[in-house]
């Protein structure tokens, strides 16, 4: 999986954020529609697509999209 593919999956999980508004350095918790439901959706997406378990505190600790991508890569 590439970082670009990960960003696409991430954007697809959100309702109103276009993929071209998300970059590896995007601090996803600053996105306008980010909330705990979005976090649950991302956790479920990562579980389903990569069979990797990330927890709520992993999400809290990650700042940027690429932090999260790295975490998923490490656990694959």
């Amino acid at each position: 999986m590439s970082l670009e593919e990960f960003i696409e999956l991430f954007a697809d999980e959100l309702d109103d954020t276009e993929v071209n508004h998300i970059a590896p350095s995007t601090e996803f918790k600053d996105l306008g529609e980010w909330d705990s439901l979005a976090a649950l959706g991302i956790i479920a997406m990562i579980d389903e697509e990569f069979e990797v378990v990330v927890t709520g505190s992993d999400i809290l600790k990650s700042k940027t999209i690429s932090d999260l991508f790295d975490l998923v890569q490490e656990r694959m």
Binding site: L37, L40, G41, A44, M45, G56, S57, L60
Partner: protein
Amino acid sequence: MCESLFSLENKNIVVTGASSGLGASIATECSKQGAKLYITGRNSSRLQATYDNLGPGDHNQNVIDLLNEDEIIQYCQELPEIDGLVLCAGILKTLPIKRLSKKAIDEIFQTNLFSSMLIIKTLLKMKKINIGASIVFLSSISVYHADIGNSIYSATKGAIDSFMRVLALETAGRKVTCNCIAPGFVPSRMLESGAIAQDQLREEEKKYPLGFGEPVDIAAGAIYLLSDASRWVTGTILKIDGGVTLK
């Protein structure tokens, strides 16, 4: 009535979902009150651990996959006539509604709801539920207290509440009582699976006027509902939640 109101002496009691969490605690505490236990679970080593913790007596354990209807019916055939049934088997998957899959819906409903319906239906048909027996379902305060990601779990528990009330009516003629326990958040294995972080747990606990409960707090309610002390109590939902739903 038995001399001790809350005694479970000479009662055959079945506990499903006894391999972990609340089910394990309920089985252990019931055995201490003198019941003869028939415990089931899906994980053989954890079920064995529950079995090893049971008080004195000649108890039974069976590993059952509640997703397999043939296994359920086979199990019911092997059971003797029973005085108590505690339906604790349950799974929780935290998923936003838009990420639900048919597979997840089927799995949660089969484990939390359909398997219990099938066990009860089968035992009734086989005339294995004694006069004056007690049936106790594990419901949840999540029926009334919505939380994101909990849709299917809550839906199964709401359905259990409704099913219980009809069952209570249909079995009252034989003095069978049917009730639910709606526990608040009791940290247990199901919840420690990783999806809920420790810091989130600490935040959650602040909402509980009495703090989080322990499995034994739920087991105490089950003992009451299984004992002769509650012989005139049917169709109720007993909240045991540390006061979290007061607010």
